[in-house]
Symmetry: C2
Subunit: 306 residues, 2 copies
């Protein structure tokens, strides 16, 4: 009899109703949310892949929430996680714009929260991030080692943790080398292509323009390249360039990009791992996982020139 029921279920392609499961059960939910600040940012493509792969392995289903830099949209998706009775969520918050209290509320409702690359609610939640200061430090130190004294930086949005960290790495590398930090060489590109385009032009127009440039993320590197092309500035002959974030195309650029590579896929996997641990042990102390970045030296920094 049991056999015949199971056989019939198979035949009719019976699928247990997950909405009913989640509604009834307090504990079992196989839904997790992934809130990323913008899918147009190549940085997240590989993060999403890491999350998606490990989630699939653990039968967790993924709701992708493309926050797209909008606080309103972030709020909407946080509400959604609640009303969908998600088991947990992985979020790269809109940093200082984000209300940490809302995350607390969600946790009180039994939703596991894992943070990616943020200073929001730091220490109160599990989180994974990469060592932005160290990465930027190594990138800029490399430029210093090549003899550059006037090194500019196109930074990310002022006040956002990753931007601050990378800026600190830049400062530390200069200070260590005894090079004074010149505020005129620090330009905010707002983590956007257009912002970096403007910032780069501004740096080039300085009375004493930089001989080298550090750009704090991938999207901005695109804007910088555009500005350099418009002005006919050759890389690395006239300007040495180091970026942040590596993508598959980096080696094939007109000047193959020297850049600080983040372990993005690992960030995604680690976030899911933290989530799984939190689901298993809801009361464990929050974990802070820091992954290392490494410098990939190609040609845009001018390393091969001397």
């Amino acid at each position: 009899m049991r056999m015949r029921v199971l056989e019939a279920a198979r035949k009719l392609n019976y699928q247990p109703d997950q909405t009913a499961q989640r509604l009834r059960s307090q504990t079992t939910s196989s839904l997790i949310g992934l809130l990323i600040s913008g899918i147009n940012n190549a940085h997240f493509h590989s993060v999403v892949q890491g999350v998606s792969d490990l989630a699939y392995n653990h039968q967790l289903n993924l709701m992708l929430c493309n926050v797209d830099g909008s606080l309103e949209r972030e709020r909407y998706y946080l509400d959604l996680m609640q009303s969908e009775r998600a088991a947990g969520l992985i979020i790269n918050p809109q940093d200082y714009y984000t209300d940490g209290q809302r995350l607390d509320e969600l946790r009180r409702q039994g939703i596991a929260v894992v943070l990616i690359d943020t200073s929001v609610a730091r220490g109160r939640f599990d989180q994974v991030r990469t060592d932005g200061r160290g990465g930027a430090y190594r990138g800029v130190r490399h430029l210093v080692g090549l003899g550059h004294q006037r090194i500019g930086i196109v930074t990310g949005t002022t006040g956002i943790m990753t931007a601050t960290e990378r800026l600190n790495g830049y400062r530390d590398a200069l200070t260590e080398a005894g090079i004074p930090v010149d505020d005129a060489l620090i330009c905010d590109g707002r983590y956007e292509k257009d912002g970096a385009h403007r910032a780069t032009l501004q740096l080039l127009d300085l009375p004493a323009p930089p001989t080298a440039l550090f750009v704090s993320n991938e999207l901005m590197t695109l804007g910088t390249l555009e500005a350099l092309r418009e002005r006919g500035v050759r890389v690395p002959q006239e300007l040495a360039l180091v970026g942040f974030d590596d993508i598959p195309w980096s080696p094939y650029l007109s000047s193959p990009l020297t850049t600080v590579a983040q372990p993005t896929y690992a960030v995604g996997r680690e976030a899911v791992r933290l989530l799984l641990r939190r689901l298993a042990e809801p009361d464990a102390p929050p974990l802070d996982v820091v992954l290392q970045n490494h410098l990939v030296v190609r040609e845009s920094c001018g390393a091969g020139l001397r």
Copy 2:
């Protein structure tokens, strides 16, 4: 009284339970699934963005399913859509591997189905695709116009519709120009980076290697560039190159890429639009939306050389 209840709901941050809503209601579900064959393929990044933006505007929530080329994983996610009581799903199927009957079953359960770039179940469902034949035709015709007689092609997986269409465009352009189609110049790169790497080496090793190359997608172009670099083949001086799919980095490659640009963001938006229409009119005849591709001429084709 009514006011006071609403006030309390706001205060407690009440969110209607969507699992209960979907469970109870036969019609109202705001969940849609997006099954893409691989998030590592840059082609889909902008498709996902188009879907995500329009879905958000219409209060549809997105479950991202990264099928990753695995039929097993595709089945898993189709089952999931059923058990989540999704309103609909947008799928780029694993083409001839996919079981069209499963899609029929899901439709019978009241799930709206929209296809992207496939020949599976063609004509029986709403679908959106781009004119791959026309795109490849224009790309190859451009190479012919520049004087090339031996033009190779790194094709996508044999049997998959998009690959076949693009190959047909290649054939048509040659035939039109009175150039015989030489099967030795047609190499299957399986829509993968490594496959394209192999295919490109094979073409270069031909007794009479091609003077120009057409590559049928973005991922494969990466493999081709790698192979060309290994062999020290200069683009466009020694080999003219035309790709398929445009990405933000294309202009900044060592030889800025001439490529067939697909309206990927529009594909995503159009898919959601079809889904919305289907939800509103379940019995309307299936729509087949074909979007045009256009050739972006940069330098890798050698257009500026003569």
